[in-house]
Symmetry: C2
Subunit: 304 residues, 2 copies
């Protein structure tokens, strides 16, 4: 299961109701994992208000280095340090090595835990694998903004799901041996070899894509294909010349073309105090569209 | 008249109720002026919620370069830029030139207005004049923290206040000529020379001191003498070894010895969810003590 919390949903200038961009993705797999995508000003307070522990965050993915997407990093790292964090924090982003190093040199930190910066490619047109665990992969792809910027994809790996009907047909019983079977693919059980495919079906993993700031582009279409959820820049109602953002109709067209299951628009300009109009416009093109608001939470579960 | 708004009142780690340090001082003199002392994370949103325009802020005074005191600067400067600010912003602080330059190099700013950094001395034991207008002076003095740190003093200049009794005694009438008299010290009025001291009394200016983070020290006592308001670090109830902060009793003793009119304790550790105990302890030593809370506002007016 994945729980996504929108910690900030505004574009460049915050409003009373909307904070600068940040999204927490909690993955409830064999291991619980909390990932953070972007980290605008006030993210640590938004995390506190959402009851998400910032000490559990081990990976932060920055889409680009505009202050509204990263300036919460500095006080967040200071708080982690004051809270006596020991474990490593990884920060991914285009040019992350340069900017994370600049951040750690800013002011007097007295950092007490290791911070590793990982550069993410910001040129090319194929999704790149940038992080992997036994349960999921993180991919990135460059997008179209005024500065080097990327989109990220959380791709859960396919998982074997035990089929009780198949078990019964083979005269087998549920039990802790199935855990071993999932891990090793085959086991000896009561004198006979059982293969995972005999008793289980392969369930596809969940896929979540976050565009960061971007104009509509082929790369975002490429990385979004068949996603369970696309979180896309929907700054404006109508395209604005000279602005490197998408409007809600452009985002909806990408959602439709990429055949995603659900679209959530974020990075909303503060001029829209009521987001209904944006949502309705998007829905005309892609019915399963929503406009994010601060503290909005959604859960994704594979139902197959 | 001076209006002070506490935008953030917590120490290193924010809580749900208390934001990182920042204090807005609005001076309603001949010219209205809005000054900001420290600029922790979230300051721009706290300003919005207080209905104080951040576009009106022309001077920011940073006490020291720990992230909780400065990290709101980065998104605040970005917002000022996005709002098409043209006028210069001055940022004062110990080592301000270095750190402001680092901040402006961080990420992609596209700054559209001039930012001037002014180094404030962080060694010595006398108040130093660091800024002056026709109506007030700003002084600073080094204080005792783990890193270079200063306290600031807002000192309104004495003002001539027309004494209607004196006017009457001289057979003179109120009128716009008195403005000229205040400006030039003497004027020709109906064929005779009138000097300001003939018809007015010199009213002392208001004095406000902000300690920033500090242990109790002689310098803070020196700069606080006879202040109308001392805003002092009151992080703890009891002194904590190894911590470069004051407890509320130490702050109250300074207020008493410096003969200030009012003490407001700030930079409160998040462990004190109810600040009453702190306030009571301080009041035992200095009765006119208060503990600040976020959005607390106080007005100072010279009554003499």
């Amino acid at each position: 299961m994945i729980q996504i919390t929108f910690l900030g949903t505004v574009s460049g200038i915050p409003s009373k109701d909307r904070n600068h961009p940040a999204i927490a993705l909690e993955y409830f797999g064999e291991e619980k994992d909390t990932l953070l995508f972007d980290c605008g000003e006030g993210t640590q307070k938004q995390l506190m208000q959402s009851n998400i522990s910032f000490m559990k965050i081990n990976k932060i993915f920055i889409t680009h280095w505009h202050a509204d997407h990263f300036s919460g990093l500095i006080p967040l790292i200071q708080t982690m340090s004051l809270e006596k964090r020991k474990s490593k924090l990884k920060i991914f982003g285009p040019e992350a090595e340069k900017f994370v190093s600049d951040i750690l040199d800013l002011g007097y930190f007295g950092l007490r835990f290791p911070v590793e910066a990982i550069n993410v490619p910001f040129e090319g047109n194929k999704p790149m694998l940038i992080d992997e665990t036994p349960e999921y992969q993180i991919l990135s792809i460059p997008v179209l903004h005024t500065v080097p910027a990327v989109a990220y994809c959380f791709q859960e790996k396919p998982k074997w799901k035990i089929d009780t009907k198949k078990l019964r047909e083979l005269g087998l019983r549920s039990g802790s041996w199935l855990k071993k079977l999932k891990k090793f693919g085959k086991v000896e059980y009561k004198g006979r070899e059982v293969k995972i495919e005999d008793v289980a079906n392969l369930r596809p993993g969940l896929k979540v894509v976050y565009s960061g700031d971007t104009k509509p582009c082929d790369n975002i279409l490429e990385i979004s294909k068949n996603a369970d959820l696309l979180i896309h820049d929907g700054t404006f109602l109508e395209e604005e010349e000279g602005k490197a953002h998408a409007d809600v109709k452009q985002a909806a067209r990408i959602a439709k073309e990429a055949n995603v299951k659900q679209l959530i628009l974020t990075h909303i300009s503060r001029r829209y105090t009521d987001a209904k109009e944006l949502e309705e416009e998007a829905k005309k093109i892609f019915p399963n569209s929503k406009v994010a608001f601060d503290f909005m939470q959604i859960r994704l579960k594979q139902v197959i």
